[in-house]
Subunit: 290 residues, 2 copies
Protein backbone atom coordinates (compact mmCIF):
# COMPACT_ATOMS: atom_id res chain seq x y z
CA UNK A 1 0.00 0.00 0.00
CA UNK A 2 1.26 3.49 -0.83
CA UNK A 3 1.96 5.87 2.00
CA UNK A 4 -0.55 8.72 2.31
CA UNK A 5 0.47 11.69 0.19
CA UNK A 6 0.09 15.06 1.93
CA UNK A 7 0.77 18.24 0.00
CA UNK A 8 -0.30 21.00 2.37
CA UNK A 9 1.35 22.19 5.57
CA UNK A 10 -2.00 22.55 7.33
CA UNK A 11 -3.01 19.03 6.27
CA UNK A 12 0.17 17.52 7.64
CA UNK A 13 0.01 19.47 10.90
CA UNK A 14 -3.56 18.37 11.47
CA UNK A 15 -2.74 14.69 10.92
CA UNK A 16 0.35 14.84 13.12
CA UNK A 17 -1.42 16.72 15.92
CA UNK A 18 -3.95 13.90 16.12
CA UNK A 19 -1.18 11.29 16.22
CA UNK A 20 0.82 13.21 18.78
CA UNK A 21 -2.17 13.50 21.10
CA UNK A 22 -2.20 9.72 21.26
CA UNK A 23 1.32 9.93 22.73
CA UNK A 24 3.12 8.61 19.62
CA UNK A 25 6.68 9.70 18.85
CA UNK A 26 7.00 11.34 15.45
CA UNK A 27 10.00 10.68 13.21
CA UNK A 28 10.96 12.77 10.19
CA UNK A 29 13.13 11.74 7.25
CA UNK A 30 13.76 14.83 5.10
CA UNK A 31 14.63 13.94 1.49
CA UNK A 32 14.62 15.35 -2.01
CA UNK A 33 13.06 12.13 -3.31
CA UNK A 34 14.58 9.78 -5.90
CA UNK A 35 14.77 7.41 -2.97
CA UNK A 36 17.35 4.63 -2.81
CA UNK A 37 18.63 2.06 -0.33
CA UNK A 38 20.35 4.81 1.68
CA UNK A 39 17.00 6.51 2.28
CA UNK A 40 15.43 3.16 3.05
CA UNK A 41 17.97 2.71 5.82
CA UNK A 42 16.99 6.11 7.27
CA UNK A 43 13.33 5.14 7.21
CA UNK A 44 14.03 1.77 8.83
CA UNK A 45 15.86 3.52 11.67
CA UNK A 46 12.96 5.95 12.04
CA UNK A 47 10.43 3.11 12.05
CA UNK A 48 12.39 1.35 14.76
CA UNK A 49 12.39 4.45 17.00
CA UNK A 50 9.06 6.19 16.32
CA UNK A 51 5.40 5.18 16.13
CA UNK A 52 4.79 7.57 13.25
CA UNK A 53 7.14 8.32 10.36
CA UNK A 54 6.89 11.15 7.86
CA UNK A 55 9.14 11.26 4.80
CA UNK A 56 9.33 14.69 3.23
CA UNK A 57 10.09 14.87 -0.47
CA UNK A 58 10.92 18.35 -1.61
CA UNK A 59 13.46 19.42 -4.21
CA UNK A 60 14.35 22.68 -2.51
CA UNK A 61 15.19 25.41 -5.05
CA UNK A 62 16.84 27.50 -2.33
CA UNK A 63 19.73 25.04 -1.95
CA UNK A 64 20.61 24.69 -5.62
CA UNK A 65 23.44 26.93 -6.73
CA UNK A 66 23.06 25.93 -10.41
CA UNK A 67 19.84 26.19 -12.36
CA UNK A 68 20.70 23.16 -14.54
CA UNK A 69 21.36 21.01 -11.46
CA UNK A 70 17.89 21.85 -10.13
CA UNK A 71 16.36 21.01 -13.51
CA UNK A 72 18.27 17.74 -13.88
CA UNK A 73 17.67 16.55 -10.33
CA UNK A 74 15.80 13.20 -10.58
CA UNK A 75 12.10 13.20 -9.61
CA UNK A 76 10.38 9.84 -9.09
CA UNK A 77 7.42 10.57 -6.82
CA UNK A 78 5.31 7.54 -7.70
CA UNK A 79 8.15 5.09 -7.10
CA UNK A 80 9.08 6.97 -3.94
CA UNK A 81 5.56 6.64 -2.56
CA UNK A 82 5.53 2.95 -3.33
CA UNK A 83 8.85 2.41 -1.53
CA UNK A 84 7.61 4.47 1.42
CA UNK A 85 4.48 2.34 1.55
CA UNK A 86 6.56 -0.84 1.64
CA UNK A 87 8.66 0.60 4.46
CA UNK A 88 5.63 1.49 6.59
CA UNK A 89 5.85 5.26 6.24
CA UNK A 90 2.70 7.02 7.43
CA UNK A 91 2.93 10.25 5.44
CA UNK A 92 4.82 11.34 2.37
CA UNK A 93 4.91 15.12 2.64
CA UNK A 94 5.51 16.40 -0.89
CA UNK A 95 4.46 20.05 -0.98
CA UNK A 96 4.56 22.13 -4.16
CA UNK A 97 7.17 24.91 -4.19
CA UNK A 98 4.49 27.60 -3.61
CA UNK A 99 3.43 25.86 -0.40
CA UNK A 100 6.94 26.07 1.04
CA UNK A 101 7.82 29.47 -0.44
CA UNK A 102 4.59 31.43 -1.03
CA UNK A 103 6.85 34.49 -1.29
CA UNK A 104 10.65 34.58 -1.57
CA UNK A 105 12.00 34.25 1.97
CA UNK A 106 13.59 37.34 3.52
CA UNK A 107 14.91 35.35 6.50
CA UNK A 108 17.33 32.47 6.06
CA UNK A 109 19.67 30.53 8.27
CA UNK A 110 23.20 31.90 8.28
CA UNK A 111 25.45 28.89 8.93
CA UNK A 112 28.57 31.00 9.44
CA UNK A 113 31.96 29.33 9.23
CA UNK A 114 30.43 25.85 8.94
CA UNK A 115 30.11 26.51 5.20
CA UNK A 116 33.65 27.89 4.78
CA UNK A 117 35.18 24.57 3.71
CA UNK A 118 34.43 21.35 1.82
CA UNK A 119 31.36 21.87 -0.39
CA UNK A 120 30.56 25.35 0.99
CA UNK A 121 32.86 27.48 -1.19
CA UNK A 122 31.93 25.50 -4.32
CA UNK A 123 28.19 25.80 -3.78
CA UNK A 124 27.43 29.35 -2.64
CA UNK A 125 24.09 29.52 -0.84
CA UNK A 126 23.73 25.74 -0.70
CA UNK A 127 24.07 25.21 3.06
CA UNK A 128 22.06 28.27 4.09
CA UNK A 129 19.39 26.87 1.74
CA UNK A 130 19.62 23.41 3.30
CA UNK A 131 19.55 24.76 6.84
CA UNK A 132 16.56 26.98 6.02
CA UNK A 133 14.45 24.19 4.53
CA UNK A 134 15.36 21.76 7.31
CA UNK A 135 14.41 24.35 9.93
CA UNK A 136 11.10 24.90 8.11
CA UNK A 137 10.44 21.15 8.07
CA UNK A 138 11.22 20.94 11.79
CA UNK A 139 8.73 23.76 12.43
CA UNK A 140 6.07 22.16 10.26
CA UNK A 141 6.44 18.58 11.48
CA UNK A 142 7.67 19.14 15.05
CA UNK A 143 9.41 15.76 15.00
CA UNK A 144 10.79 14.06 18.09
CA UNK A 145 13.59 12.68 15.95
CA UNK A 146 14.94 13.46 12.51
CA UNK A 147 17.16 11.20 10.42
CA UNK A 148 19.98 12.24 8.10
CA UNK A 149 22.58 10.28 6.19
CA UNK A 150 26.22 10.50 7.19
CA UNK A 151 27.02 10.61 3.48
CA UNK A 152 26.21 14.32 3.59
CA UNK A 153 28.59 14.87 6.49
CA UNK A 154 28.85 18.64 6.25
CA UNK A 155 25.07 18.92 6.04
CA UNK A 156 24.72 16.68 9.09
CA UNK A 157 27.28 18.75 11.06
CA UNK A 158 25.39 21.93 10.13
CA UNK A 159 22.01 20.50 11.11
CA UNK A 160 23.35 19.27 14.45
CA UNK A 161 24.72 22.75 15.08
CA UNK A 162 21.53 24.46 13.90
CA UNK A 163 19.55 22.37 16.37
CA UNK A 164 21.86 23.14 19.30
CA UNK A 165 22.39 26.83 18.42
CA UNK A 166 18.64 27.45 18.04
CA UNK A 167 17.52 25.02 20.80
CA UNK A 168 15.25 23.16 18.39
CA UNK A 169 13.56 20.39 20.42
CA UNK A 170 14.45 17.53 18.09
CA UNK A 171 16.95 14.71 18.31
CA UNK A 172 19.11 14.49 15.21
CA UNK A 173 20.09 10.94 14.27
CA UNK A 174 22.94 10.36 11.81
CA UNK A 175 22.73 7.11 9.86
CA UNK A 176 25.79 5.42 8.27
CA UNK A 177 26.26 5.63 4.53
CA UNK A 178 24.92 2.72 2.49
CA UNK A 179 27.26 1.65 -0.31
CA UNK A 180 27.03 -0.37 -3.50
CA UNK A 181 29.04 -3.62 -3.43
CA UNK A 182 31.97 -1.80 -5.11
CA UNK A 183 31.98 0.92 -2.44
CA UNK A 184 30.15 3.71 -4.28
CA UNK A 185 28.04 5.65 -1.78
CA UNK A 186 24.32 5.48 -2.57
CA UNK A 187 23.10 8.79 -3.98
CA UNK A 188 20.16 9.96 -6.05
CA UNK A 189 22.71 11.50 -8.38
CA UNK A 190 24.17 8.07 -9.24
CA UNK A 191 21.21 7.69 -11.63
CA UNK A 192 22.74 10.42 -13.76
CA UNK A 193 25.88 8.38 -14.47
CA UNK A 194 26.40 6.59 -17.76
CA UNK A 195 27.80 2.99 -17.59
CA UNK A 196 31.46 3.97 -18.00
CA UNK A 197 31.01 6.90 -15.60
CA UNK A 198 29.45 4.53 -13.11
CA UNK A 199 32.57 2.37 -13.24
CA UNK A 200 34.89 5.36 -12.79
CA UNK A 201 32.82 6.75 -9.90
CA UNK A 202 34.27 4.27 -7.41
CA UNK A 203 37.64 6.04 -7.38
CA UNK A 204 36.38 8.66 -4.92
CA UNK A 205 35.78 6.04 -2.24
CA UNK A 206 39.10 4.43 -3.12
CA UNK A 207 40.86 7.76 -2.50
CA UNK A 208 39.10 8.21 0.84
CA UNK A 209 40.07 4.68 1.86
CA UNK A 210 43.70 5.45 1.06
CA UNK A 211 43.51 8.55 3.29
CA UNK A 212 41.96 6.41 6.02
CA UNK A 213 44.74 3.83 5.64
CA UNK A 214 47.36 6.55 6.06
CA UNK A 215 45.64 8.12 9.06
CA UNK A 216 44.87 4.86 10.84
CA UNK A 217 48.49 3.77 10.50
CA UNK A 218 49.78 6.95 12.10
CA UNK A 219 50.47 9.50 9.34
CA UNK A 220 49.89 12.90 10.92
CA UNK A 221 50.82 15.21 8.06
CA UNK A 222 47.66 16.40 6.35
CA UNK A 223 49.42 17.34 3.10
CA UNK A 224 51.00 13.92 2.82
CA UNK A 225 47.70 12.14 3.45
CA UNK A 226 45.95 14.30 0.87
CA UNK A 227 48.67 13.70 -1.71
CA UNK A 228 48.51 9.93 -1.21
CA UNK A 229 44.73 9.94 -1.43
CA UNK A 230 44.57 12.21 -4.47
CA UNK A 231 47.04 9.96 -6.30
CA UNK A 232 44.29 7.32 -6.32
CA UNK A 233 42.21 9.42 -8.75
CA UNK A 234 43.35 8.36 -12.24
CA UNK A 235 43.95 10.92 -14.99
CA UNK A 236 40.81 10.70 -17.05
CA UNK A 237 39.04 13.30 -19.16
CA UNK A 238 35.72 12.60 -17.41
CA UNK A 239 37.10 12.96 -13.85
CA UNK A 240 37.75 16.20 -12.00
CA UNK A 241 38.47 16.24 -8.27
CA UNK A 242 36.89 19.37 -6.79
CA UNK A 243 38.38 18.89 -3.36
CA UNK A 244 39.65 16.25 -1.02
CA UNK A 245 40.05 17.63 2.45
CA UNK A 246 40.55 16.72 6.08
CA UNK A 247 38.52 18.62 8.67
CA UNK A 248 37.26 18.54 12.22
CA UNK A 249 34.03 16.47 12.12
CA UNK A 250 31.92 18.88 14.24
CA UNK A 251 33.18 22.31 13.26
CA UNK A 252 34.13 21.43 9.66
CA UNK A 253 37.37 23.42 9.95
CA UNK A 254 40.65 22.22 8.41
CA UNK A 255 43.03 20.52 10.83
CA UNK A 256 46.72 21.40 10.77
CA UNK A 257 47.88 18.00 12.01
CA UNK A 258 45.96 14.79 12.59
CA UNK A 259 45.63 14.39 16.34
CA UNK A 260 42.15 12.91 16.74
CA UNK A 261 39.19 11.70 14.71
CA UNK A 262 38.87 13.62 11.46
CA UNK A 263 36.46 13.77 8.58
CA UNK A 264 38.03 12.96 5.22
CA UNK A 265 35.72 14.28 2.53
CA UNK A 266 35.85 14.75 -1.22
CA UNK A 267 33.83 15.94 -4.18
CA UNK A 268 34.46 14.45 -7.60
CA UNK A 269 32.95 15.42 -10.91
CA UNK A 270 32.29 12.40 -13.09
CA UNK A 271 31.28 13.82 -16.44
CA UNK A 272 28.60 16.36 -15.60
CA UNK A 273 27.64 14.70 -12.32
CA UNK A 274 29.07 15.85 -9.02
CA UNK A 275 29.51 13.13 -6.38
CA UNK A 276 30.51 13.54 -2.75
CA UNK A 277 31.63 11.03 -0.16
CA UNK A 278 33.41 10.97 3.18
CA UNK A 279 34.85 8.79 5.91
CA UNK A 280 35.40 9.36 9.60
CA UNK A 281 39.00 8.40 10.25
CA UNK A 282 40.74 7.86 13.56
CA UNK A 283 44.50 7.89 14.16
CA UNK A 284 46.08 5.16 16.30
CA UNK A 285 46.38 5.97 20.02
CA UNK A 286 49.40 8.21 20.73
CA UNK A 287 52.28 6.42 22.45
CA UNK A 288 53.02 7.56 25.99
CA UNK A 289 55.30 10.60 26.02
CA UNK A 290 55.05 11.17 22.27
CA UNK B 1 3.55 37.27 45.18
CA UNK B 2 6.60 37.11 42.92
CA UNK B 3 6.38 35.10 39.73
CA UNK B 4 8.40 31.89 39.79
CA UNK B 5 11.96 32.49 38.60
CA UNK B 6 13.28 29.84 36.20
CA UNK B 7 16.88 30.00 35.05
CA UNK B 8 17.36 26.77 33.10
CA UNK B 9 15.97 25.77 29.72
CA UNK B 10 15.23 22.24 30.92
CA UNK B 11 13.43 23.58 33.99
CA UNK B 12 11.21 25.83 31.93
CA UNK B 13 10.44 23.14 29.35
CA UNK B 14 9.46 20.71 32.05
CA UNK B 15 7.08 23.18 33.73
CA UNK B 16 5.52 24.22 30.43
CA UNK B 17 5.10 20.63 29.21
CA UNK B 18 3.04 19.88 32.31
CA UNK B 19 0.91 22.98 31.76
CA UNK B 20 0.46 22.27 28.07
CA UNK B 21 -0.72 18.71 28.78
CA UNK B 22 -3.60 20.26 30.71
CA UNK B 23 -4.64 21.96 27.46
CA UNK B 24 -3.61 25.49 28.50
CA UNK B 25 -2.50 28.02 25.90
CA UNK B 26 0.99 29.35 26.56
CA UNK B 27 1.85 33.03 26.01
CA UNK B 28 5.37 34.41 25.80
CA UNK B 29 6.46 38.00 26.38
CA UNK B 30 10.16 38.27 25.43
CA UNK B 31 11.89 41.19 27.15
CA UNK B 32 15.30 42.45 28.20
CA UNK B 33 13.91 43.36 31.63
CA UNK B 34 13.84 46.87 33.16
CA UNK B 35 10.11 46.46 32.79
CA UNK B 36 7.81 49.46 32.44
CA UNK B 37 4.16 50.18 31.65
CA UNK B 38 4.72 49.20 28.00
CA UNK B 39 5.78 45.71 29.05
CA UNK B 40 2.87 45.58 31.50
CA UNK B 41 0.53 46.17 28.58
CA UNK B 42 2.09 43.23 26.72
CA UNK B 43 1.64 40.99 29.75
CA UNK B 44 -1.97 42.10 30.21
CA UNK B 45 -2.70 41.19 26.59
CA UNK B 46 -1.01 37.83 27.10
CA UNK B 47 -2.95 37.17 30.32
CA UNK B 48 -6.20 37.94 28.53
CA UNK B 49 -5.44 35.44 25.74
CA UNK B 50 -3.52 32.62 27.43
CA UNK B 51 -3.89 30.47 30.53
CA UNK B 52 -0.16 30.51 31.18
CA UNK B 53 2.20 33.45 30.67
CA UNK B 54 6.00 33.36 30.62
CA UNK B 55 8.00 36.58 30.59
CA UNK B 56 11.58 36.07 29.47
CA UNK B 57 14.18 38.52 30.75
CA UNK B 58 17.46 38.22 28.93
CA UNK B 59 19.84 41.01 27.97
CA UNK B 60 21.03 39.35 24.79
CA UNK B 61 24.69 40.15 24.08
CA UNK B 62 24.29 39.03 20.46
CA UNK B 63 22.06 41.99 19.61
CA UNK B 64 24.25 44.74 21.07
CA UNK B 65 26.47 46.45 18.55
CA UNK B 66 28.22 48.54 21.22
CA UNK B 67 29.96 47.11 24.29
CA UNK B 68 29.13 50.20 26.39
CA UNK B 69 25.44 49.97 25.50
CA UNK B 70 25.38 46.36 26.73
CA UNK B 71 27.13 47.39 29.93
CA UNK B 72 24.87 50.40 30.56
CA UNK B 73 21.63 48.57 29.78
CA UNK B 74 19.45 48.76 32.93
CA UNK B 75 19.02 45.55 34.94
CA UNK B 76 16.31 45.45 37.61
CA UNK B 77 15.48 41.75 38.08
CA UNK B 78 13.98 41.99 41.57
CA UNK B 79 11.60 44.80 40.62
CA UNK B 80 10.77 43.00 37.38
CA UNK B 81 9.82 39.83 39.23
CA UNK B 82 7.64 41.79 41.58
CA UNK B 83 5.84 43.50 38.70
CA UNK B 84 5.40 40.16 36.95
CA UNK B 85 3.93 38.70 40.14
CA UNK B 86 1.44 41.56 40.35
CA UNK B 87 0.46 40.99 36.72
CA UNK B 88 -0.16 37.25 37.21
CA UNK B 89 2.82 35.99 35.24
CA UNK B 90 3.51 32.30 35.84
CA UNK B 91 7.21 32.13 35.01
CA UNK B 92 9.97 34.66 34.72
CA UNK B 93 12.56 32.96 32.54
CA UNK B 94 15.86 34.72 33.25
CA UNK B 95 18.65 32.43 32.09
CA UNK B 96 22.33 33.29 32.55
CA UNK B 97 24.23 34.02 29.34
CA UNK B 98 25.97 30.60 29.44
CA UNK B 99 22.59 28.88 29.44
CA UNK B 100 21.55 30.59 26.21
CA UNK B 101 24.99 30.56 24.59
CA UNK B 102 27.01 27.64 26.03
CA UNK B 103 29.30 28.13 23.02
CA UNK B 104 29.34 31.02 20.54
CA UNK B 105 26.62 30.29 17.98
CA UNK B 106 27.74 29.31 14.48
CA UNK B 107 24.19 29.55 13.11
CA UNK B 108 22.24 32.79 13.21
CA UNK B 109 19.17 34.17 11.51
CA UNK B 110 19.96 36.17 8.40
CA UNK B 111 17.18 38.76 8.12
CA UNK B 112 18.19 39.89 4.64
CA UNK B 113 16.93 43.19 3.34
CA UNK B 114 14.65 43.72 6.35
CA UNK B 115 17.69 45.18 8.13
CA UNK B 116 18.78 47.40 5.23
CA UNK B 117 16.97 50.51 6.48
CA UNK B 118 15.92 52.36 9.66
CA UNK B 119 17.98 51.04 12.59
CA UNK B 120 19.65 48.25 10.60
CA UNK B 121 22.55 50.18 9.03
CA UNK B 122 23.28 52.00 12.31
CA UNK B 123 23.34 48.85 14.41
CA UNK B 124 25.22 46.16 12.47
CA UNK B 125 24.34 42.69 13.73
CA UNK B 126 21.48 43.96 15.87
CA UNK B 127 18.52 42.45 14.01
CA UNK B 128 20.20 39.11 13.23
CA UNK B 129 20.93 39.00 16.98
CA UNK B 130 17.32 39.83 17.86
CA UNK B 131 15.91 37.32 15.37
CA UNK B 132 18.27 34.62 16.65
CA UNK B 133 17.37 35.05 20.32
CA UNK B 134 13.66 35.29 19.56
CA UNK B 135 13.82 32.10 17.51
CA UNK B 136 15.67 30.40 20.38
CA UNK B 137 12.98 31.55 22.83
CA UNK B 138 10.27 30.25 20.50
CA UNK B 139 12.04 26.87 20.38
CA UNK B 140 12.50 26.76 24.14
CA UNK B 141 9.02 27.92 25.15
CA UNK B 142 6.95 26.69 22.21
CA UNK B 143 4.38 29.45 22.83
CA UNK B 144 0.96 29.56 21.20
CA UNK B 145 1.24 33.33 21.11
CA UNK B 146 4.06 35.80 21.57
CA UNK B 147 3.69 39.50 22.32
CA UNK B 148 5.86 42.34 21.04
CA UNK B 149 5.54 46.12 21.30
CA UNK B 150 4.81 48.16 18.19
CA UNK B 151 7.36 50.66 19.49
CA UNK B 152 10.05 48.41 18.02
CA UNK B 153 8.35 48.38 14.64
CA UNK B 154 11.27 47.07 12.59
CA UNK B 155 11.84 44.30 15.13
CA UNK B 156 8.16 43.38 14.98
CA UNK B 157 8.19 43.32 11.15
CA UNK B 158 11.26 41.08 11.22
CA UNK B 159 9.76 38.69 13.76
CA UNK B 160 6.51 38.43 11.81
CA UNK B 161 8.55 37.63 8.72
CA UNK B 162 10.80 35.17 10.59
CA UNK B 163 7.71 33.31 11.75
CA UNK B 164 6.15 33.13 8.29
CA UNK B 165 9.41 32.39 6.43
CA UNK B 166 10.35 29.59 8.85
CA UNK B 167 6.76 28.34 9.48
CA UNK B 168 7.17 28.76 13.23
CA UNK B 169 3.87 27.62 14.79
CA UNK B 170 3.28 30.74 16.90
CA UNK B 171 0.92 33.67 16.57
CA UNK B 172 2.75 36.99 16.81
CA UNK B 173 0.72 39.73 18.50
CA UNK B 174 1.77 43.36 18.12
CA UNK B 175 0.72 45.63 20.98
CA UNK B 176 0.38 49.43 20.60
CA UNK B 177 3.04 51.68 22.10
CA UNK B 178 2.36 53.01 25.58
CA UNK B 179 3.31 56.68 26.00
CA UNK B 180 4.00 59.08 28.84
CA UNK B 181 1.45 61.91 29.16
CA UNK B 182 3.73 64.15 27.06
CA UNK B 183 3.93 61.56 24.27
CA UNK B 184 7.34 60.01 24.97
CA UNK B 185 7.20 56.31 24.12
CA UNK B 186 7.83 54.08 27.13
CA UNK B 187 11.29 52.53 26.94
CA UNK B 188 13.74 50.94 29.35
CA UNK B 189 16.28 53.41 28.03
CA UNK B 190 14.26 56.39 29.27
CA UNK B 191 15.77 55.68 32.71
CA UNK B 192 19.11 56.74 31.32
CA UNK B 193 17.91 60.30 30.61
CA UNK B 194 18.78 63.20 32.91
CA UNK B 195 15.93 65.66 33.75
CA UNK B 196 16.71 68.15 30.96
CA UNK B 197 17.27 65.30 28.51
CA UNK B 198 13.93 63.83 29.53
CA UNK B 199 12.26 67.12 28.60
CA UNK B 200 14.02 67.29 25.24
CA UNK B 201 13.20 63.65 24.43
CA UNK B 202 9.60 64.43 23.48
CA UNK B 203 10.70 66.12 20.25
CA UNK B 204 11.03 62.77 18.47
CA UNK B 205 7.34 62.04 18.88
CA UNK B 206 6.55 65.63 17.91
CA UNK B 207 8.48 65.17 14.64
CA UNK B 208 6.67 61.91 13.91
CA UNK B 209 3.33 63.59 14.57
CA UNK B 210 4.21 66.36 12.11
CA UNK B 211 4.98 63.70 9.48
CA UNK B 212 1.66 62.04 10.25
CA UNK B 213 -0.15 65.39 9.91
CA UNK B 214 1.43 65.90 6.50
CA UNK B 215 0.65 62.38 5.30
CA UNK B 216 -2.90 62.29 6.62
CA UNK B 217 -3.69 65.59 4.91
CA UNK B 218 -2.51 64.32 1.56
CA UNK B 219 1.19 65.19 1.15
CA UNK B 220 2.67 62.48 -1.05
CA UNK B 221 6.24 63.70 -1.44
CA UNK B 222 8.44 61.77 0.95
CA UNK B 223 11.23 64.37 0.95
CA UNK B 224 8.81 67.15 1.82
CA UNK B 225 7.27 65.15 4.66
CA UNK B 226 10.70 64.31 6.04
CA UNK B 227 11.84 67.93 5.84
CA UNK B 228 8.73 69.18 7.67
CA UNK B 229 9.12 66.51 10.35
CA UNK B 230 12.85 67.03 10.81
CA UNK B 231 12.27 70.77 11.25
CA UNK B 232 10.51 69.90 14.52
CA UNK B 233 13.81 68.78 16.05
CA UNK B 234 15.34 71.90 17.62
CA UNK B 235 19.04 72.70 17.27
CA UNK B 236 20.46 71.59 20.58
CA UNK B 237 23.90 70.30 21.50
CA UNK B 238 22.41 67.24 23.22
CA UNK B 239 20.18 66.21 20.27
CA UNK B 240 21.27 64.33 17.20
CA UNK B 241 18.73 62.86 14.79
CA UNK B 242 20.14 59.58 13.46
CA UNK B 243 17.38 59.05 10.94
CA UNK B 244 13.77 59.87 10.25
CA UNK B 245 12.42 57.71 7.49
CA UNK B 246 9.28 56.54 5.76
CA UNK B 247 9.04 52.88 4.81
CA UNK B 248 6.66 50.11 3.88
CA UNK B 249 5.41 48.69 7.22
CA UNK B 250 5.86 45.00 6.29
CA UNK B 251 8.96 44.97 4.13
CA UNK B 252 10.70 47.94 5.80
CA UNK B 253 11.77 49.31 2.40
CA UNK B 254 11.74 53.04 1.60
CA UNK B 255 8.72 54.23 -0.36
CA UNK B 256 9.21 56.61 -3.28
CA UNK B 257 5.79 58.25 -2.92
CA UNK B 258 3.16 57.91 -0.24
CA UNK B 259 0.32 55.86 -1.72
CA UNK B 260 -0.82 53.71 1.21
CA UNK B 261 -0.17 53.15 4.90
CA UNK B 262 3.47 53.80 5.77
CA UNK B 263 5.66 53.49 8.80
CA UNK B 264 7.24 56.77 9.88
CA UNK B 265 10.17 55.96 12.15
CA UNK B 266 13.02 57.82 13.73
CA UNK B 267 16.03 57.41 15.99
CA UNK B 268 17.21 60.33 18.09
CA UNK B 269 20.26 60.56 20.30
CA UNK B 270 19.54 62.53 23.46
CA UNK B 271 22.91 62.96 25.12
CA UNK B 272 24.39 59.48 25.17
CA UNK B 273 21.00 57.73 25.00
CA UNK B 274 19.53 56.53 21.74
CA UNK B 275 15.72 56.62 21.52
CA UNK B 276 13.50 55.24 18.77
CA UNK B 277 9.85 55.76 18.00
CA UNK B 278 7.42 55.33 15.12
CA UNK B 279 3.90 55.85 13.89
CA UNK B 280 1.79 54.06 11.32
CA UNK B 281 0.44 56.78 9.05
CA UNK B 282 -2.31 56.52 6.46
CA UNK B 283 -2.90 58.93 3.57
CA UNK B 284 -6.43 60.14 2.84
CA UNK B 285 -8.35 58.01 0.30
CA UNK B 286 -7.33 58.89 -3.30
CA UNK B 287 -9.96 60.85 -5.22
CA UNK B 288 -11.48 59.01 -8.17
CA UNK B 289 -9.38 59.32 -11.29
CA UNK B 290 -6.42 60.87 -9.51
Amino acid sequence: MNAELVESIAGLRERLARIRRSGAKVGLVPTMGALHAGHARLVERARGDCQSVTVSIFVNPLQFDREDDLRRYPRTLEGDRELCGTLGVDFVFAPPVEEMYPIPPACRVDVGRLADHLCGPYRPGHFPGVATIVLKLFEIVGPDRAYFGEKDAQQLAIIRRLVSDFNVPVQVVGVPTVREPDGLAMSSRNRQLGPSERELATVLYRALREADRQISTGTKDVHFVKAKATAEIPRDASLRLEYLDIVDPDDVQPVARIAGPVLVAGALWVGSTRLIDNLLSTPPPEKMGS
